[in-house]
């Protein structure tokens, strides 16, 4: 009966196929791993633990730049596709005394251009605290990062808003928006802020002394991060550090303000120990 014949023949064929096929499949896998089309490496890099907490919070910029060199290398186009030269136009916020140089990309303006280097020490993980590539919304998978906002890898409200929010003239008792009233205050924030809220910028991404030194020469420095480049309608609710001469009673608006900067931005403890040891 052909019925009998076929199954045994099939079994033999099967065995032969397995014997030959299995090593072949393994060899193929090994090949793909070794060279592949690069997609394997891409996935491995995409899911590198460095993109997730806690590793990302401990990463140094060099660690990220190994793979993301382009972030600091990419430049703007020389000309827009319609032929508009990049240097032909400046936005209003680029027509101020502190602005220098040519048009630059977002990352370069915060990490490598002269003003950024003078005043700040932003790091990749000041803004990038991790995101799950599989997730388009925060918090929907077991490995997900629970902070952040839809469609963004960087949360605007807890990063950009600190330096690009509105100045709050009502709260400061200013009679109007800064550009209109600044003449009355000698065009300087320091006319008040030499003594008010004088404990400020003690965070690892700002250079506190350099900021004060630069501001003593050009008041646009303070305004630049506090209202001068305000992309958003909100003001950032800054922590309210007690300062020498501050009253112990809190104004009503400050009742639920923090009194210290976020822990992850506090300067390393060694700096603290040194200052405590001083008499």
């Amino acid at each position: 009966m052909p019925f009998r014949f076929f199954p045994s023949r099939l079994r033999q064929l099967f065995r032969a196929a397995l014997l030959l096929g299995l090593p072949f499949a393994l060899w193929q896998l090994w090949q793909a791993n070794r060279e592949g089309d690069g997609s394997h490496d891409l996935w491995r890099a995409t899911y590198d633990p460095i993109h997730f907490a806690p590793a990302i919070l401990q990463a140094r910029d060099e660690d990220c730049l190994v793979c993301h060199r382009e972030v600091l290398l990419d430049r703007v186009r020389e000309k827009s596709p319609a032929g508009l030269p990049a240097q032909a136009r400046r936005a209003a916020y680029q027509e101020v005394s502190t602005y220098a140089g040519e048009q630059e990309t977002f990352h370069r303006r915060h990490l490598v251009t002269p003003l950024a280097r003078e005043l700040m020490d932003l790091r990749c993980n000041t803004c990038h605290v991790g995101h799950e590539p599989r997730d388009e919304a925060p918090g929907t998978s077991a490995t997900a990062i629970r902070q952040g906002s839809l469609r963004k890898q960087v949360d605007v409200e807890s990063t950009c808003l600190k330096c690009h929010g509105r100045l709050n003239p009502e709260q400061m008792g200013l009679p109007g928006p800064w550009p209109e009233v600044k003449a009355a205050f000698g065009d300087s924030c320091l006319s008040c802020h030499a003594s008010i809220r004088s404990v400020r910028h003690r965070v690892n991404y700002l250079k506190a002394e350099a900021i004060e030194a630069a501001a003593a020469k050009d008041s646009e420095i303070c305004h630049g991060c506090h209202g001068g480049r305000a992309w958003y309608r909100l003001s950032y609710p800054y922590p309210r550090h007690p300062w020498p001469g501050s009253e112990s009673s809190l104004p009503a608006w400050a009742k639920d303000r923090a009194t210290e900067s976020e822990a992850r931005f506090l300067p390393p403890p060694t700096v603290d120990r040194e200052s405590r040891q001083k008499p």
């Binding site: 319609a82 032929g83 136009r89 400046r90 303006r109 919304a137 918090g139 469609r151 605007v156 992309w231």
Partner: protein, 225 residues
Amino acid sequence: MARNRKIDHDELKAALERKLRQTEQAARPARQLGFVHHNVDCIGCRACEIACKDKNGLPPGPRFRRVLPIEGGRFPDVYAYKINMACNHCAEPACLPTCPTGAIWKRGDNGVVDIDSSLCIGCRKCEAACPYGAPQWDPQEWVVKKCNMCIDELEAGRKPYCVMACMMRVLDIGPIEDLWQGRWPTTAVGPGEKPVRQVRHMANPELTGPSIAFVAHRKGRVDER
């Protein structure tokens, strides 16, 4: 693009001046249009996304519109819904003031935040500044592009491609104030449902005043439990 075409520099300059007058400050439109999306009835087929990519001729990478599947909970209290967002055509867009060349402006007639990517120099500042991830980087053309609510379709009296592609009819446009008030007749909002301005995980609307309305899922509500 315009690589082989001769550039009329006078016309370019005139166009730029025209544009710049519009860009220094965001226009306050007589009537602001916005999108409305039903988070629960959306089945997540992404036809809107594909229609959008098709209309705008986008390569892999940039996605003006995104359907965001949200899932979670523990048995038996599990949930799944979709949030669907493109550009929210904000009252005070964050992208607009950051643009150094005047490529982005807000239209006075319908409040659409429009972009002329042929003026873009690829500095990517708008992309970073937008709290809702609307501006999209096109690495092949080295410019940023974004949703303009299919302004050409609007001007022809039609609706955007994404809306027309929605087989569940859960995505629509309309005057945003009327949508928020529940006064605008639309298939995206069912009887007795009240659209909201924010859902869980969406960046704070106070930042820029986005023109977006959602019918939220019970687990996506932020105003009440």
